[in-house]
Amino acid sequence: MPEQLVFAMEVILNGLMAGVLYALVALGFVLIYKASGIFNYAQGVMALFAAMTLVGIMSGQVPFAHIINATFGTHVHKFGWTVPALLAIILTMGVMVLLAWAVQRFVMRHLVGQEPIILFMATIGLAYFLEGVADLMWGSEIKTLDVGLPQGINLWIDEATFNIFGYGFFIDNLDIVATVIAALLVAALVVFSQYTKQGRAMRAVADDHQAALSVGISLNFIWIMVWSVAGFVALVAGIMWGTKSGVQFSLSLIALKALPVLMLGGFTSIPGAIVGGLIIGVGEKLFEFAIGPLVGGATENWFAYVLALIFLVFRPQGLFGEKIIERV
């Protein structure tokens, strides 16, 4: 087998893995967009917030330590305990549910029936507010996150591919775990939204707020539920990205990478988010590998956006987006 082809295969595999991580972030967007028609700009920051809270709880950090110390002249920083990963994840999920409730209670409830652009602006505000809160609560230094996920090269794949191709593929264990978790998450979400009463109500709310109200569906409850689920997805994405590249404020920028994923997959499709993520992941890696050297590299920065632009022109609802039903 020619060496170039084997290289390309490794690139594709790595692209798939990276795509899964993009898809995880995109999923959170899709959920909220489906249920409330809101494009939640704060999704990336939610992932950051979740990751920071998780690290903070695990390491026994005192929340708002800076404010407390500045006001009372104390010097508390740590509680002096550490919390096991699983318990910390559950506690963080509790915080995310609380956040969902607060968003609904203090922001979205007052904006029912407003234009989508106003709701979008509200989420931009929310994003910066949340970033500030995260900073105040847990401090701004870069932290490492280790919840016990396996990391480093997968030796089994390395060896197996070496035996076949005479060249060992470098696949990170973390990426494999992320893929498995993403697959489970998507399966669970699809089952939830297609086959359960609350899932059906969620889709009903997405279609027509007024009609949903008229049959007795509580918009408040559904939206808190959706924001909580989006918070959970953000937490999973936060754990994956945090483990991979450390918990830092640039984490919130992965939200921008999710945008082209959404344009490809469609804003309303859960499987679309996954497929879109994979296409972007593979596409940008492969493009960099094949065309990058010809144009001087760094194509990964813009490839996804150009692809999204092309899609916007020829298929605005994305690959799997719901067709806009228009009656004549």
Binding site: V112, G113, K197, R200, A201, R203, A204, A206, D207, D208, H209, Q210, A211, A212, L213, S214, V215, G216, I217, S218, E322, I325, R327
Partner: protein, 277 residues
């Protein structure tokens, strides 16, 4: 005979009582200026009037869907079975047995017909078996929906969507249905079909209706009692049979007069000169 019929009507239990309500949109636009009406158990009560008379607003005031449209009941009271429902949640009202079928159908477009119907049972807590049973009941009233149960509601015809919306309301096991403009945009034949089903539901299932309708002719044929709204006020009410014979109603809403049918142009100019209020 007539007397006997009237006394039983008086004796019929009052379900819904709207007492002199005033509705203001956006804090400034006064839409209802004192509307009062009662809906008796087992009756079909029609709410008639032209565009902008306040029919839809009245229904939404009752079902509490006004809040999400920035409307507000500022005066008067609304009671259901004697208890005040003025500020209760739409979901509470559905549980009490009052559900609205909104104007313009409002189906959940991306859900299938059957999923649409099932959302109607959202507030019910009597288990899946009972819900499945009612689903079959809805299909016996709307056999066409059974054929199309797996198609997306957005791709069904206007008449079918009206049926979906009504079937969805039925799934909540309602005592009273607030039915807003069921004839809108439908062919006359379909309008007859829909009203026939309303009559059936009323007689066989004992569902009471408050029906807002512009099509005065059809509505007065099927209803028992009628209220006529004009610019946010009730200008006339009475048993449907009496309203049908009333010369003013004939002239303004049925387009007929003693000299026979008038041309639309004459009706309009006449109307401008003579108004009720």
């Amino acid at each position: 005979m007539l007397d006997a019929a009237q006394t039983t009507e008086v004796q019929a239990e009052t379900l819904l009582e709207v007492n002199n309500i005033e509705v203001i949109y956006n804090h400034v636009i006064l839409v209802l200026k004192g509307v009062s009406l009662t809906v008796p158990k087992g009756g079909i009560t029609a709410l008639l009037g032209g565009n902008g008379a306040g029919k839809t607003t009245t229904l939404k005031a009752i079902s509490n869907l006004l809040q999400s449209e920035r409307g507000e009941v500022t005066k008067g009271s609304i009671t259901y079975r004697g208890s005040n429902v003025h500020e209760s949640d739409p979901a509470d009202l559905v549980e009490k047995g009052v559900i609205q079928v909104m104007e313009g159908r409002h189906c959940f477009e991306h859900l299938t017909v059957e999923e649409n119907l099932l959302t109607g049972a959202y507030t019910r807590k009597d288990g899946n078996a009972a819900i499945q049973q009612d689903l079959e009941l809805v299909y016996t009233y709307f056999p066409r929906l059974k054929e199309r149960r797996r198609s997306q509601a957005g791709y069904t015809s206007g008449g079918e969507q009206q049926m979906v919306a009504m079937g969805r309301a039925l799934m909540s096991r309602p005592e009273t249905i607030l039915l807003d403009e069921p004839s809108m945009g439908l062919a006359p034949q379909l309008v007859e079909e829909i009203f026939g089903i309303v009559k059936d539901l009323n007689e066989k299932e004992g569902v009471s209706f408050l029906l807002a309708e512009q099509n005065t002719n059809v509505a007065l044929r099927f209803a028992h009692y009628g209220y006529i709204l004009e610019s946010g006020r009730v200008v006339m009410d009475g048993p449907a049979a009496d309203l049908r014979e009333n010369p003013d109603v004939k002239e303004f809403y049925l387009g007929m007069s003693d000299e026979g049918r008038k041309s639309f142009r004459d009706v309009r100019s006449y109307r401008r000169r003579k108004r009720w209020l």
